[in-house]
Symmetry: C2
Subunit: 253 residues, 2 copies
């Protein structure tokens, strides 16, 4: 009997009117998804909500209840539209307090930049009981509250906060993947894909069609936490495609 | 007394393991958000879910209950991992049927491409009672079921389906926006922004900081459905920034 490995999951709440208005192209979903996979954690669901307390509270409470971890991005700056900390504290039922070390960090950072102000001190506010996530980029830290990680929305600052968390969060086996490309309409090999997936327990095959250089093609991505099963499924799929007269291209097209 | 205009909203469900794994950078959120705004409809919430029926059912039912419209992208192709139609039919409590015109379209499209197959016919399946959304790109149409719009995941095919829907869906006044940029740390003008927003009912000001050319700056985006209120708020914000010694740059930086 195969041992079933525990799967660790995370939810992600992207907070910001600028994403919902289309003004800003989101970069954090893909960035955080890739980083989570390196930690052995799967991104299970994402919600994008606007800058309103009820929307944030609902999304945070729904996703933290059913995932091992919850990440949020956006809304932790110094301006009036930055309401993430207040909303998450409300979701958790705890007060907002000023974190002494965050205050120190901000005071030190702004010493040569015009000094600390009430607006800047907003960035030291955390839900009671929180720790900080280091941010080497600017003075303002991210916030960790148990299994909740509250991060900046600007992608390169988010990246620094993720970097500070690398290796610090427990996960399981990373989901491995291999890609095979093929100049074929996916509809031609749909039965073949379905049969191959069925023959390899613990492997999923995703089919991603494209139109390029005037021709249709598809990449087939095989995913598994088991390297041996993954390799076997990949080899079997390549053999079946070859047999069908559709020579596969390793690594995808 | 001001007449309150009805605000039309849409929810969006992005369906696909490839987004949650980070393999594919989503382009549909921004694309659909911008298109919706042209129709006078606001994107109120987005959920990204994987290729599983329970996740799709939950997201579809939650978002359609509280928005005027629901859009989905992804999972309507011919392969085994394309389960969107089955999941949405389950969410709606209706059977899946083959749409006669979709079948015709696919038969005609594939006549010169190897003929129709069971896999290709999967793309003619719709929740009972559905209409089609035209897709000039490939044979496979999108699906409209009352206020639900089921679209392809490949962004340029999504774009063609949106194009086919342009002007065909009732909306309200579009949300207008103007942007002012400033080489200033947003924390320096936080009080000014808050006071300006408060003085202009019906206007929201978003603050989006950046770090560029070695300097910090921010863009301030003013949003309103009322062009006069928007213009007044913009002028007031520019005047206050100028008075504070922070000359604004029209149109943003």
């Amino acid at each position: 009997m195969a041992v079933i490995d525990r799967i660790w999951t995370a939810g992600l709440v992207i907070i910001g009117d600028e994403i919902l208005s289309g003004r800003t192209q989101d970069r954090n979903i893909a960035q955080i998804a890739l980083w989570l996979n390196l930690q052995g954690i799967r991104l299970a669901e994402v919600r994008v909500v606007g800058d309103t307390v009820p929307a944030i509270v609902e999304a945070v409470n729904a996703l933290r209840a059913r995932n091992d971890y919850l990440f949020t991005t956006g809304g932790i700056g110094p301006t009036h539209d930055d309401i993430t900390v207040d909303a998450i504290a409300e979701a958790l039922g705890v007060p907002v307090v000023v974190h002494p070390r965050a205050r120190q960090m901000l005071e030190s950072y702004y010493q040569s930049r015009g000094g600390i102000t009430d607006a800047r001190l907003r960035m030291a506010r955390v839900p009671e009981g929180a720790d900080l996530i280091e941010n080497r980029m600017s003075g303002a830290p991210g916030i960790r509250w148990q299994n909740i990680f509250i991060m900046a929305g600007v992608p390169h600052i988010t990246a620094m906060m993720l970097d500070a968390l690398s290796g610090a969060i427990e996960g399981g086996k990373p989901l491995l993947s291999e890609t095979i490309g093929c100049w074929v309409a996916e509809s031609e090999v749909a039965d073949l894909l379905r049969a191959t997936e069925k023959a390899h327990e613990g492997c999923q095959i995703g089919s991603y069609p494209f139109f390029r250089e005037g021709k249709v093609g598809a990449n087939f991505v095989i995913r598994s936490t088991d390297a041996v099963a993954l390799g076997a499924c990949r080899a079997d799929l390549a053999a079946r495609l070859t047999e069908a007269g559709r020579a596969p291209i390793d690594g995808g097209i």
